[in-house]
């Protein structure tokens, strides 16, 4: 934890921006550079910055959930996304797609098990990195 006024003030702004950006990276990932890994890393960077500025206790409070639980939930979501294919009669981990409001010309809003899987990846990376960083900062 550093007692720097500039860092503290800048962090408030940067953290929200980083998290917003990380979600943006996650969602655009299927067609443009980005995805769960990158999004998770970006989001984690935001909270790492917060931990440096405000300390780990404040970071844990801001996270609300234990980071290791976030990682485990992410793993569960990814597995559920993979298994869901079996319910539709496809092989394990086959992508399932739903196009909301699709018309002849426009494919509508795509919702897929692949996106759910990527959200799981995001949470795993996010949770795992924060588990490590927070534990290191607290213990060392």
């Amino acid at each position: 934890m550093m007692n720097s006024v500039i860092l503290n003030a800048a962090t408030r702004l940067l953290v929200s921006l980083l998290i917003l950006f990380s979600v943006y990276m996650l969602l655009r990932g299927h067609n443009l550079p980005g995805g769960g890994f990158i999004g998770g890393l970006t989001g984690a960077t935001g909270f790492v910055l917060y931990a440096i500025a405000h300390g780990t206790e404040a970071t844990r409070a801001a996270l609300r959930a234990e980071p290791q639980s976030i990682a485990m939930v992410g793993l569960g979501i990814a597995l559920a996304a993979g298994v869901s294919a079996a319910i539709f009669g496809d092989a394990f981990f086959t992508g399932q797609w739903l196009f909301l409001g699709a018309t002849e010309d426009d494919k509508g809003l795509p919702i897929s098990s692949v996106l759910v899987f990527d959200i799981g990846v995001y949470l795993v990376v996010f949770g795992s990195i924060l588990t490590l960083v927070l534990a290191l900062e607290e213990e060392v």
């Binding site: 299927h30 009669g89 692949v114 960083v133 213990e139």
Partner: protein, 765 residues
């Protein structure tokens, strides 16, 4: 607590209790619909593709063998869980027990119904693990922990052998589907890999079914709560090995090695176990050893392989599951009411616990092979099949005769001794147990009587279809209680006579056996401990050598090994001579920005090698990382570049945090630094050579082309990297993120562990 007959059994344990009884009962009811088609000789196949590219299918094969097993598992399961609601219903960990038991049941049902070898293996391991958890359920006792670990290590080692055998078999047969493999027996037996496959399968089956010399874990496993012993270690799990042998009989059976391995191991286990059974004074242990005997007999007769022998094995399988589960539940009930299982302390309980006595008596009469119970038919057919053999006739009939005599004695010890005679004063306050606990043994005992009186029932629905499935062809199965006086019948009479004589002298017999065990030089349990100690010593020795705990040494070892490996490969494969490198031409094509980045990276590396400040070194490495990220951007790999940049950022944060605790770089390190730099340059140079060598050949672009073409139409994504990660190779990604979570949790535990230790040390000071 006194419960009279006729009262509705109360189920304890709340929701967990109800769930645990209803699930197996529902499965049993669901399975009964297959009885008619299977009895007509059909096999039912159900399945979904799971990982089609690796030929892993979740498929189920319902034929006579698997249906018989599945009905026993779910039926006895329902009775055992009902029993447990009383036996363990008030235990604080009861819901956990139910979870383990249902997990086991799922594994066991999957194991017998699986049509895919890989699926079968997964279910096999689920039963191993849940058995470990159940044996060690009383985790405060060192004895049950040891027994659980012993069972786990032995059966899991066998499981690994089995996996290897399955992979070999799958390669030979060209399919992992049992329904295919079972029809290819002749090709498999003619293959040169047949013998290794057989040995690996036998290793799996013998450890699981506790055949000699792997028998010793089973009696130890009796540390588990009695319902577990009744269910896992007599009626179901230990029969998994026998099931595997029976299942594979059409594919692997009928050869000389198969015959002799099974007949010798099975026969020896049979006699050995029944002798040890009469040695015991704890009735649960008596039953444990007779279970070993039954497993041996089943192995023996599956090995013998004639249609009569298979038929006898299948009858005996049903017979044994019914009476043995009943007897285990009975002795658990006696233990529950009197607090002891010692044969010398229990007398005359029949008047105090009449229903339990009735249940136990029915089961024991079946076990002793006395008509009109189905046990008699079972024994009769064992004799008949043994006498009809061409090879090994004397050995098979002899062992089964000896075992039957000793079974008669064991039946007497476990039921006649505790229930008949004069009731000692100490036990005068005993009363009948709750209904939920005697329904199970009574039902099983009554089924033994029902199947004995109307043997057609068992024949049509269970034994005949099971025999066809194991034998691989339809054959006549005709069960009957008595038809004529023949050799088998005379042997039965001799069994009763010998059994009665030995039962009357069983105390002397026990003393003789105790003496024999005392003077025998072979000790299995201590030998097991020595093997484990040896393994631990080996592990400690190699850890001491390989794990120094110094990060620099690890890095030197890893990079040094890499360098040596690369050099050896260069030399052996003669990689360098065909390289044709036009250095001047290559340099001409480079742009200024590319030179700048290379210079940037080299400067960072040099600084890292020369600085005496850790912080500067880390920052310098960051420069190298950013330079590499720039190269990725330049060659249009933005995803990789972004990831690289983010990882660099986080690495610096992590190292900076850790750095606060590290000492400054000392002179000692400085002296080693040139060596480290030289190693780094050497490894870097060798990797560069590899890359140049790779670029000399044509790069196979098939995969890239495929992904470029398929990414949009098949996976609706334009970012190929991401589409590969989350769709085409999602299983790999899932494995990777699982590793990420495990690594994070392990590091977390390590860091927290040091805090706990420091706190403890702080208190000590």
């Amino acid at each position: 607590m006194a419960t009279t007959a006729g009262e509705v059994p109360r189920v304890y344990g709340g929701a967990a209790g109800w769930i645990s009884v209803l699930i197996p009962a529902a499965i049993f009811a669901w399975l009964t619909q297959f009885l008619a088609p299977v009895a007509a000789g059909e096999t039912v196949l159900i399945g979904v593709d799971w990982v089609p590219s690796m030929e892993v299918r979740l498929s189920f094969l319902i034929d006579g063998l698997s249906l018989t097993f599945a009905l026993l598992i779910s039926g006895i399961g329902a009775l055992v869980t009902l029993y447990s609601t009383q036996y363990l219903g008030r235990h604080p960990e009861y819901p956990r027990f139910v979870l383990f038991l249902l997990l086991f049941m799922a594994g066991m049902l999957g194991l017998v119904l699986a049509d895919n070898l890989i699926a079968l293996f997964v279910f096999w391991e689920i039963t191993t693990i849940s058995s470990y958890l159940l044996i060690g359920f009383d985790s405060d006792s060192a004895k049950s922990r040891r027994s659980a670990l012993q069972a786990l290590l032995l059966t899991a080692t066998g499981g690994l052998a089995l996996l290897a055998g399955m992979i070999l078999l799958g390669t030979v047969a060209g399919s992992f589907e049992l329904s295919v493999i079972l029809g290819m027996g002749d090709e498999i037996r003619a293959d040169p890999l047949y013998l290794p496959i057989l040995i690996l399968f036998l290793a799996g089956a013998f450890t699981k079914s506790a055949q000699f010399p792997f028998h010793f874990w089973l009696p130890n496993a009796m540390a588990a709560p009695t319902p577990v012993s009744a269910y896992l270690h007599s009626a179901t799990m230990v029969k998994a090995g026998v099931f595997l042998l029976a299942r594979m009989n059409p594919a692997l059976g009928g050869t000389e090695p198969w015959f002799w391995a099974l007949v010798i191991a099975g026969g020896f286990t049979t006699v050995f176990a029944s002798l040890l059974a009469v040695r015991q004074t704890d009735i649960k242990q008596v039953l444990a050893y007779t279970t070993l005997m039954a497993l041996g007999a089943l192995t023996l007769f599956i090995g013998a392989g004639t249609s009569d022998a298979i038929k006898a094995a299948m009858i005996f399988l049903v017979v044994h599951s019914l009476y043995k589960a009943a007897l285990f539940l009975m002795i658990g009930l006696v233990d529950h009411e009197t607090g002891t299982r010692e044969v010398e302390e229990l007398r005359g309980l029949a008047r105090k616990m009449p229903v339990t006595f009735l249940a136990g008596a029915l089961a024991a009469i079946s076990m002793a092979g006395i008509p009109p119970l189905i046990g008699f038919i079972g024994k009769e057919f064992l004799y008949k099949a043994g006498l009809a053999l061409d090879t090994g006739q004397l050995w098979v009939t002899g062992t089964i005769f000896a075992a039957s005599v000793l079974m008669f004695v064991a039946a007497g010890i476990s039921v006649a001794r505790p229930f008949l005679g004069r009731l000692p004063d100490r036990l005068s306050a005993t009363h009948e147990g709750p209904a939920a606990m005697w329904i199970g043994p009574l039902t099983l005992g009554a089924l033994g009587l029902l199947f004995g009186l109307s043997s057609g029932l068992a024949e049509t629905w269970l034994v005949a279809p099971a025999t066809w499935a194991v034998y691989g062809a339809e054959t006549k199965v005709d069960l009957y209680l008595f038809r004529e006086v023949n050799a088998a019948f005379l042997l039965s009479l001799a069994t009763f006579a010998a059994g009665l004589v030995l039962y009357l002298a069983h105390r002397r017999l026990r003393a003789v056996m105790a003496r024999a065990i005392e003077i025998s030089p072979i000790r299995f349990d201590p030998a097991w401990d020595r093997v484990l100690d040896g393994l631990k010593a080996l592990a400690a020795w190699q850890t001491g050598i390989l794990q120094s705990g110094v990060l620099q040494r690890y890095m030197v070892t890893i990079l040094g090994t890499l360098a040596v490996g690369l050099l050896a490969t260069f030399w052996a494969k003669d990689v360098l001579s065909p390289i044709d490198l036009d250095l001047a031409g290559e340099l001409d094509t480079l742009q200024f920005t590319q030179f700048a980045i290379v210079g940037f990276i080299c400067a960072g590396a040099l600084l890292a090698a020369c600085t005496s400040s850790r912080m500067t070194a880390v920052a310098a490495l960051g420069v190298v990382g950013v330079g590499v990220a720039l190269i990725f951007i330049m060659f249009s790999a933005p995803d990789v570049a972004i990831t690289q940049l983010l990882v660099e950022t986080l690495t610096i944060v992590l190292v900076a945090v850790a750095m606060l605790k590290l000492p400054t770089l000392g002179l000692r390190t400085e002296a080693r630094r040139p060596w480290h730099a030289a190693l780094a340059v050497a490894v870097g140079g060798l990797v560069t050579l590899v890359l140049i060598a790779v670029l000399q050949g044509d790069i196979d672009r098939r995969l890239t082309d495929y992904f470029e073409a398929a990414s949009w139409p098949e996976a609706y994504g334009r970012n190929i990297v991401n589409v590969i990660l989350v769709d085409f190779r999602a299983l790999d990604t899932f494995g990777e993120i699982a590793v990420v979570v495990i690594a994070a949790l392990a590091a977390f535990a390590l860091l927290r562990g040091t805090r706990g230790r420091r706190a403890a040390e702080g208190e000590g000071e």
